[in-house]
């Protein structure tokens, strides 16, 4: 169908409509394909860590050329939603089996590399106060899970995290289940609850340690700490986690790259 610009586009439009998506119909074909792929991820048809169909296969399914699929996948790979591996195929990104664990943690040790030990301090179900409900796009008083944990490097506590999750998405989340699990929470969220964290926004401030935080992080009361407030999103820009980390930056720093 070379030169017939109308035909393949309407085919994809039909697919978009069939999927019940309200993607803007004026968007280029490759973005519509991208939306279709995201829909597959969102529905759980292609799960975290799994191999998705080849570009040629996808092109046939969607009735477009390989180049168009390629451009859609390119964008998603650039956003870390997919991972391409030459000769093997394209995989759904995951926090679980990843080389670099803690994909969203930008804290680096001043010297050497490290492995972090996790200590679970608390896990309870609550009713969401207004501030947290608002951030998580839910109503005040809705069910919510609250987790508190510590990360330590070589026995020294470095990060104190308070984590808030929507109760409906994380129904069976208990202290035992968290303790059984190895590795980052985000891996557990994927495999046990089907919740993929794909993007986050952080607000960073310098704060003084209060009595409780100081005790847990083993620093003097009033010591300067990095406060990192993170709001994480799944597919469709749905907020699914609010996290407030207090980082002790005596032996570590928060690394960022600008361009």
């Amino acid at each position: 169908m070379p030169g017939m610009s109308g035909s393949p586009r309407s085919t994809a439009d039909d697919l978009v409509r069939a999927a019940g998506l309200d993607a803007p119909s004026f968007s280029p074909l490759y973005r519509q394909i991208k939306s279709l792929i995201i829909a597959k991820l969102q529905s759980g048809e292609w799960k975290a860590g799994e191999l998705i169909p080849s570009e040629l296969d996808l092109a046939k399914r969607f009735g477009v050329s390989q180049g168009t699929v390629r451009k859609a996948v390119d964008e998603m790979a650039a956003e870390n939603m997919l991972v391409r591996r030459q000769g093997r195929g394209t995989f759904v990104a995951t926090h679980a089996e990843q080389k670099v664990q803690y994909r969203f943690l930008r804290l680096m040790p001043d010297e050497g590399s490290e492995s972090l030990e996790r200590t679970l301090l608390d896990c309870r179900r609550q009713r969401a106060p207004a501030a947290i409900a608002k951030a998580l796009q839910m109503r005040t008083g809705d069910a919510m899970v609250e987790v508190r944990r510590l990360l330590s490097s070589k026995g020294e506590p470095v990060v104190l995290d308070d984590i808030w999750l929507p109760g409906d998405l994380f129904k069976g989340l208990t202290t035992e289940r968290l303790n059984l699990h190895r590795g980052p929470f985000y891996g557990l969220f994927e495999t046990e609850f089907g919740v993929q964290m794909i993007r986050a926004e952080e607000k960073i401030r310098a704060v003084a340690a209060d009595a409780q935080s100081a005790a847990l992080l083993q620093v003097p009361v009033g010591a300067p700490l990095l406060s990192v407030e993170r709001l994480s999103f799944t597919y469709g820009d749905k907020a699914v986690e609010l996290r407030r980390g207090l980082y002790s930056t005596a032996t570590h720093f928060y690394r960022n790259e600008l361009n």
Copy 2:
């Protein structure tokens, strides 16, 4: 030359060699084209803010297809080195005439938008101490320019910056020249000294305000401040600026996006 994969590649290789670059010869053609474009930027042949030749023009010059030039330009646009404008052309990115001023400053006000006022506190030429020389890839004792300045929002001081620059690159930099200039320093560095900041790395910590910083930022001594150490690079990964900012985060926060 369709199908003759050897021929166009060797053409570009010749161009790379002719330009005296040691780009790895195994790299794909579009990366070699990218290197050639970067060489044009580095040499000052195409200056910040200027229009570069069209894709078709570049393709003819380099003896490759438009698609290959496109892929090179795509990468550079993704890295904010070039800016594409449909119907107009491709421009060299600039810190000077940009909508979003302070491209590298991630500090946001809690409420509303803002315009920052600049106050120059100091500008002097020094010999570089070991720590700064090392970061800027120069020798201890080499000529260095040191600048201190304050950024304020609605009269309230928010950022205290100490800036260190290699003396040889910034020969005529004086207090008067800095005071004459409107807008971010990076704009001045481009237009007056031909130094383009294209990338930076930041190390962020929480620190306690010392007496001098506290006075300048109008906070109590010991108040927690965000310490942002930024190392900026030009073309060829050459470090050309070290900056240490102290951010008061009572009414502002450092914003970051993760994916």
